[in-house]
Symmetry: C2
Subunit: 213 residues, 2 copies
């Protein structure tokens, strides 16, 4: 369920949903867009009033559309997680040939790191900073983890990744790479394009390769 502007809208309630009033629909879109930007830039730390202000609505209006700040956060982050998992599944398809398994894994790993690096909400979600993430987020997160795990297993099977690391290690290292990358760009504030990864991530990728190859 994706609209023309690329934003995800929740599926209409299962039973006979009256269409939203025009202004309500417009405000909902504005709030989601403002939330996407704000959460990406500052993570969960951004005050909800600030999101409302940037969306040009009152705080009450935000609560009309989302029952809590966390629900709004999840609406943003679940979408991001699902898109990432989709990219991962494409990489997994490419990893069918032995020669491609390694590059497919490392490419996707770098994509995840780059994405979480520029979307702070993703980093927060991966690190569990929000503490209580609801079911939807957990499912989307597990989905992403599964894809990453499958890619790693393939890469390990063809000898592109050391076999003494598991999915838990990989999750930890992903978070570590994001942290390191964020630190990096604090120092040298160059805008980094997706997939154009930093030296810290390169070091971690090299560490993931079998030693003494």
């Amino acid at each position: 369920m994706r609209t023309a502007d690329g934003t995800a809208e929740p599926a209409p309630p299962t039973r006979a949903a009256r269409p939203l009033r025009a202004d309500a629909q417009r405000n909902r879109t504005r709030v989601l867009e403002a939330a996407r930007r704000a959460f990406a830039a500052e993570g969960l730390a951004v005050p909800l009033d600030e999101i409302a202000r940037r969306a040009g609505v009152g705080a009450g209006t935000v609560y009309r559309h989302f029952p809590s700040k966390e629900a709004l956060f999840e609406a943003v982050v679940v979408d991001r997680l699902e898109r990432l998992a989709e990219v991962g599944r494409a990489a997994l398809a490419e990893a069918a040939s032995d020669a491609a398994a390694g590059p497919a894994f490392f490419g996707f790993f770098e994509t995840v790191v780059a994405d979480a690096h520029e979307k702070m909400d993703l980093a927060d979600a991966l690190s569990g900073a929000g503490v209580n993430l609801c079911e939807a987020t957990q499912i989307a997160g597990r989905d992403l983890a599964d894809v990453l795990g499958a890619l790693m297993a393939r890469a390990q099977a063809v000898g592109a990744v050391r076999t003494d690391v598991d999915l838990t290690d990989l999750h930890a290292l992903t978070l570590g790479a994001v942290t390191a990358e964020r630190r990096q760009s604090d120092a040298a504030d160059t805008t980094r394009m997706a997939h154009r990864i930093g030296r810290a991530t390169r070091v971690i990728c090299d560490g993931l390769r079998p030693p003494a190859a």
Copy 2:
């Protein structure tokens, strides 16, 4: 300036300081001890009232001894940074022989990571989470960074560490390793001894070695 119980006390003010009253001295020690424990466990996030409660004093008493929460935090963290730097200098002395330069660097790197892993205040300080750290902390931090840089330079000179990483990268990777380690021990809550490092850190260390050695 270190007392019998291993705690660091600030040097007496330069000019004619009247000695503290006995109860004041005792309370000051209690506050520092409680702060050390609390900051180690929860980082800067722990409320000051909680530290006062654990120390068995009122919040006002804490403010009699330290002008702000940050000052108390720094009293704890500067001590930690200085001790680490001291360990680093010892490692640097060992790194005189070429064969020892690599192990000295990696050993110290692991020590820093392990230390920051079990002392959340250190991790906060390294990541600059406190935002405004005063001069004392900056000096101590720079001192530590210098030692780490010297050790890395030695290790690079003898070919134990790849030469395409600099001190900024190392700082970022240190933080990344701490983050990854913390994530690890969330999953499997085993108490980890200092120097008994985890797999994530091992991967990062391997990544720091020259590729295709």
